[in-house]
Symmetry: C2
Subunit: 153 residues, 2 copies
Amino acid sequence: MDCARNQSGEMKDKVKPIKLFWPTVPVAVDAIILHRGKIVLTKRSIKPYKGQFVFPGGFMVPGETSKKACIREAKEESGLDVKIIKLIGVFDDPHRDPRGHTLSVAYLCKSVGGKLKPQEGESSEVKLFSPKEIKKIKLGFDHEQIVKELELA
Amino acid sequence: MDCARNQSGEMKDKVKPIKLFWPTVPVAVDAIILHRGKIVLTKRSIKPYKGQFVFPGGFMVPGETSKKACIREAKEESGLDVKIIKLIGVFDDPHRDPRGHTLSVAYLCKSVGGKLKPQEGESSEVKLFSPKEIKKIKLGFDHEQIVKELELA
């Protein structure tokens, strides 16, 4: 999800985040979607990592869980309805995103409906890759770490 | 960690969080510490859940990872130096904290040094419980969910 979106600060379930007196690290989610025996990647058409493939994902909104955020972002960015299979891990290196520190919760998912299509504005392409093919691509953000973690599981 | 602390907005590693145009869900960490065959709980002396036992934990600071935050909070709240064993899970029900929505990353840890002592101001007691004893206590926040998740592992 791009920073230019959700500027309304949409609140799900009318729950507000806790108010702290210091800066907080925003939570993102990444969806590793199994679809027809392959994995979904989207090609970024905006900075950072413009032109590179990444897993569909975006920022969590107050009032939703990270699982719900993952299902929402998977739909928005790939067009697919997904079901969460399991938590892959938490990725939170301070330098994982050149725009600033974020923490990402990555979930393994499988498609249960919908139709593959890129999200206008943010990605130019949505494509299926085999696990073998993914290992050969230079992915954006720290998404190669997610691939490594997935192999260990 | 209480909201009244860290008001300086301390930045670790000089990395700032990404700037978003909508409210974000702060990240907390919870440390489930194995110490001499038992598990460490602290008794809260402040709201919310005043008088109830909880796992040591607190909020992540921009520039540190959740693992580093967990090690820092374990030391601050229990007096123990800990080593992370594994990720237990992500706990992010919007109602898990009555003060507002937070997401917590819970890690199983083991003590490697230090000395048990309560944190002044925030907890009145730091105590060891067997896993069996913990199941009988009404814990603060959603920490009973963490216990359940730990049993499944």
